[in-house]
């Protein structure tokens, strides 16, 4: 009897703690979302209002009047294309690491790791200069190339883990049936790792969507992604907090939704498969 009571008590304690913790941590973010629906007056009143008449004005002004809709479009374009390319380029390499071990593997692994650990600023300046020589500045091509490269290590590491989980026997079976290596790769390995593929794709998209510094340097007025366009709301006419909140919400909510989908694969993704989720 005592043990059960203790257990129930412990459980209640645990729930309380977590809920309290969540209440504190989620308040700032909740506040951001709430502010996006407030009018300018409501947003700045003290004491802060929890009950108010919601308005879509901030969204309307930011996205329609101020053109954040085109930034949204830009973010989408960059995220989709860079994800696509990193997957297309990285998948074969991941498969090779998994299925064709060779002597130089460690060196290649390390090379990949190095690219992920390089601070963006180290690459930003020379990339800027190189891209300008090739007239890729302020184009979609430039930033897509950059994001593709940054996500590559990610794709390779994550997908290697997923390919590893598919038994080699399946590959052999398909080879015996007369399928080429490429065919095996395309027709067997990939469909069998569709979950991992989905998760990796979503991760890449999220990374590109949230990225700031590279986009700041490489995009221009017409190709600016959402994060890059936000500082434009800090104007001499005052800071449009309501609109910042609106754009901030639009930047973060899709990511939240997608991340719930890939929750299972979070850990794998964040450690490049070093730790199984």
């Amino acid at each position: 009897m005592n043990i059960n009571k203790k257990r129930v008590f412990k459980n209640i304690l645990a729930y309380t703690f977590i809920i309290l913790f969540l209440a504190i941590t989620l308040t700032p973010y909740f506040w951001l979302i709430v502010t996006s629906f407030k009018t300018r007056m409501d947003a700045f009143t003290i004491p802060p209002k929890l009950i108010f008449t919601p308005t879509f004005d901030n969204y309307r002004t930011a996205f329609l009047d101020k053109g954040f809709l085109s930034n949204f479009k830009n973010s989408l374009i960059v995220a989709i294309f860079s994800t696509f390319f990193s997957m297309v380029v990285g998948l074969p390499s991941a498969y090779a690491f998994s299925r064709f071990p060779m002597k130089g593997d460690h060196f290649l692994y390390f090379y990949l790791l190095a690219t992920r650990f390089t601070p963006v600023i180290v690459l930003a300046l020379p990339l800027y200069m190189i891209m300008s020589k090739f007239h890729l500045l302020n184009t979609f091509t430039g930033i897509i190339i950059a994001h593709t490269a940054f996500n590559l290590a990610f794709v390779v590491w994550m997908m290697k883990g997923f390919f590893d989980a598919v038994p080699a026997e399946i590959d052999d079976a398909s080879r015996v049936d007369g399928c080429s290596r490429l065919g095996t790769f395309l027709r067997m390995a990939i469909p069998l790792t569709i979950n991992g593929l989905a998760a990796t794709t979503i991760f890449c998209a999220i990374n590109s969507w949230n990225e700031f510094l590279m986009a700041l340097i490489l995009t221009g007025h017409f190709t600016a992604t959402l994060p890059v366009a936000i500082p434009g709301l800090l104007t001499p006419q005052g800071t449009f907090w309501g609109q910042i909140a609106a754009v901030g919400s639009v930047i973060t909510i899709p990511v939240l939704v997608l991340s719930i989908v890939v929750q299972k694969y979070m850990i794998k993704g964040m450690t490049f498969g070093a730790v199984k989720g």
Binding site: I46, Y128, M129, S132, K133, H135, L137, N138, G220, H221, P231, G232, L234, T235, P236, Q237, G238, T239
Partner: protein, 458 residues
Amino acid sequence: MSTRQKKWFVLLITVITITGLVIFGCSAATDTKLYAGTTIRVIAETQNPTLALEKLLPEFEKLTGIKVELTYGPIDSVVQKELLALQSETGEYDVISSPYEFLGSLVENGYVQPLEPLLNNTNLNVIPDFDQEDFIKGMWSASGNWEGTYYGIPSNTCIMMLFYRKDLFENPAEKEAFINKYGYELEVPKSWNQYKDIVQFFTREKGQMLAGEKLDHDFYGTTIAGKRHIAMMCEWLNYAWSFGGGIFDKEGNLIIDSQENVAALDFFNEMKKYSPPGVSNNTWDEVTTQYQQGIVAMGIQWNDCAPSIEDPETSKVAGKMGYGAIPIGEAPAAHFGAWSYFIPKSSKNPEAAWIFLQWANTTAVQKRIALTGGFPCLKSVFNDPELLQKLPYWEASLEAYKISSCRPRIPEWNQMNSDMVLELSKVISGEQNSQKALTELKLKYEKLLKDKLPILYQ
């Protein structure tokens, strides 16, 4: 000639004349469309004058057939974009609006075109109302002349001056309280001692009285731009110059660590006490917001921010503000801030760009811009009585211009500004005292300028 021959002769002359007139008239009419179909890209700061210009762009397109793609952003991002674009010679911009302090850098790095060839090219004189004699010489020189050659044309000119709550200054209750406390009339301060008295006087807490009413929030005597940002350098130089300091003396030697500068920095830092909390986050934008919220009594600010403060839709104090001259310490002071239009050497459409610049500096356009907060560079607009009548800050702006000073425009200035705002920022955050900060700054400047000292041309 016989009568018949005479008649034919007269007819011939008439026909020739009319044809000539028609041809001449036609070509004069189509001259404006000389570069029709071109698109030029312009970049400028997000400020009232730029926004006003944006609204007028369709007219320009109608007149010349040239399409203008105008980009704008806050000063840091605009400067960065421009300089990076120029450095990489992308030809991305045909017109850049740049703070005038970059003049030396832009010219000596070979990024911008001299204007003389364009000015003298009569084929490009297609904008009927443009008259280069109408430029205010002093302004044009400061904004765009480097070592004798014109490279730039004034873009968004502005001056710093005194802003104050006229309604509070004129309030009988306040006037009485002031004279009781300090022994002299409450009026626009003429000295820094008076400035300090007024600032102290008006700093009140929630619950105290202001102009006969109880305050439901704290009220502050002043506010300063204390962020590690160009805004702080701009504001502080007013104090420095007024106190008798500055960066270089008349002979071009560095005097940045002089006693006068230290006193000015101490005073500036002291104003923190009477400002709303969080000054180290203030640029001129936050300062404007604080005026708009009605929590500040007096301060030093850019005249092109006044329209935002006079806008009843966003400002609580529209119509309550007064404008005057910055107190005179050793010398009168007003920081002349100018942006200039330049045409990059890498531009592919310099002629179309030049046509745009002419149009932007016609009386009609400049006046429309002035009505929404710009400070014109044309004599005709400068002295326009309608502006004086309509805009409460106009007279003070004109007066401020007369006593204004420029900051250095040498290529090293960007780095010097960066160093200066770092040191000033340390003083504001309490990490460093004024003397040490300025001495440190002098060392940095000496290292940077080395054998170029004394700097005679700025």
